[in-house]
């Protein structure tokens, strides 16, 4: 499922304009230890993290993550958004917490067959 459709179906705000909206989401990953994320997240996962510093963009790039989801309406630094736009990584924001996002995203990806594991 494309990032644009995913964000729209789950009522998430897109903080990075048109950047990378046609990237494909095939799964969801949630973790806040950056080294763990780069070695365990899968390509095309949507990544949920409470971190908002610039480094999340580098991690997303290296792990080939499709988009970053910031939960619980945490505000994101302008510099991070700017870098994400430059690198083509969309950042989504929502009031939901990580568990709620996983549940909703799981239902959504299952319904469309985007994640074969579900």
């Amino acid at each position: 499922m494309k990032v644009a459709e995913f964000a729209s179906k789950l009522n998430m705000r897109i903080l990075t304009g048109e950047t990378g909206l046609d990237r494909e989401i095939r799964g969801v990953y949630t973790c806040d230890l950056l080294s763990w994320v780069i070695s365990h997240a899968r390509k095309d996962d949507a990544w949920i993290t409470v971190h908002t510093n610039l480094n999340i963009v580098a991690v997303a790039l290296l792990a080939e993550i499709s988009c970053i989801i910031i939960p619980e309406d945490i505000s994101v630094e302008e510099a991070t958004l700017k870098r994400a736009c430059q690198e083509g990584i969309p950042i989504l924001s929502t009031g939901m917490n990580a568990f709620e996002i996983c549940c909703r995203a799981g239902e959504l990806l299952k319904s469309t067959g985007s994640n074969l594991a579900l």
């Binding site: 806040d32 230890l33 950056l34 080294s35 780069i38 070695s39 510093n53 480094n55 290296l62 690198e87």
Partner: protein
């Protein structure tokens, strides 16, 4: 590529945590442009990223030198930091000497060196307490 060797050099600034990872992101782009298979690019860039971050966290930055030939990618990260007193301990997953403010950024989980070991084909660490550390990572392009 024949005898061609591509050499890339980067300065890793130690005072600006926000640019940490730029050298490895750049190397990733170069490797992709060269048409190197994605799983090899991933191995090289994850290893380099961890070493780069280590030099920022522990050593006030350093230098990265990358050489790519038709057989391998070699990444050498050199710093003039405090050195590693106990390599065996530092290689243990979960062991970290990173300060709290670094951990708050999502680093310092004690996975840097273990990740490098996992993703590289060869890892050589030369370190001297009080002088600095050189981490040399080799990723082979052929099985």
């Amino acid at each position: 590529m024949g005898d061609n060797v591509i050499k890339l050099d980067y300065v890793i600034p130690g005072d600006d945590f926000s640019v940490a990872g730029e050298a490895s992101s750049n190397v990733k782009k170069v490797l992709n442009q060269l048409g190197i298979p994605p799983f090899i690019v991933k191995k090289a860039t994850i290893s380099m990223y961890e070493a780069e971050i280590n030099s920022v966290i522990h050593a006030g930055g350093g230098n990265a030198h990358v050489e790519i030939d038709n057989e391998k990618i070699v990444v050498e990260i050199t710093d003039q930091g405090p050195g590693i007193p106990d390599i065996e301990l530092a290689m243990q997953e979960g062991y970290s000497t990173a300060p709290d403010e670094i951990r708050e950024l999502g680093f310092g989980a004690g996975m840097g060196l273990p990740n490098i070991k996992r993703y590289s084909d060869e890892l050589e660490i030369n370190t001297e307490v009080g002088k600095g550390t050189t981490v040399r990572i080799t990723i082979r392009l052929k099985a």
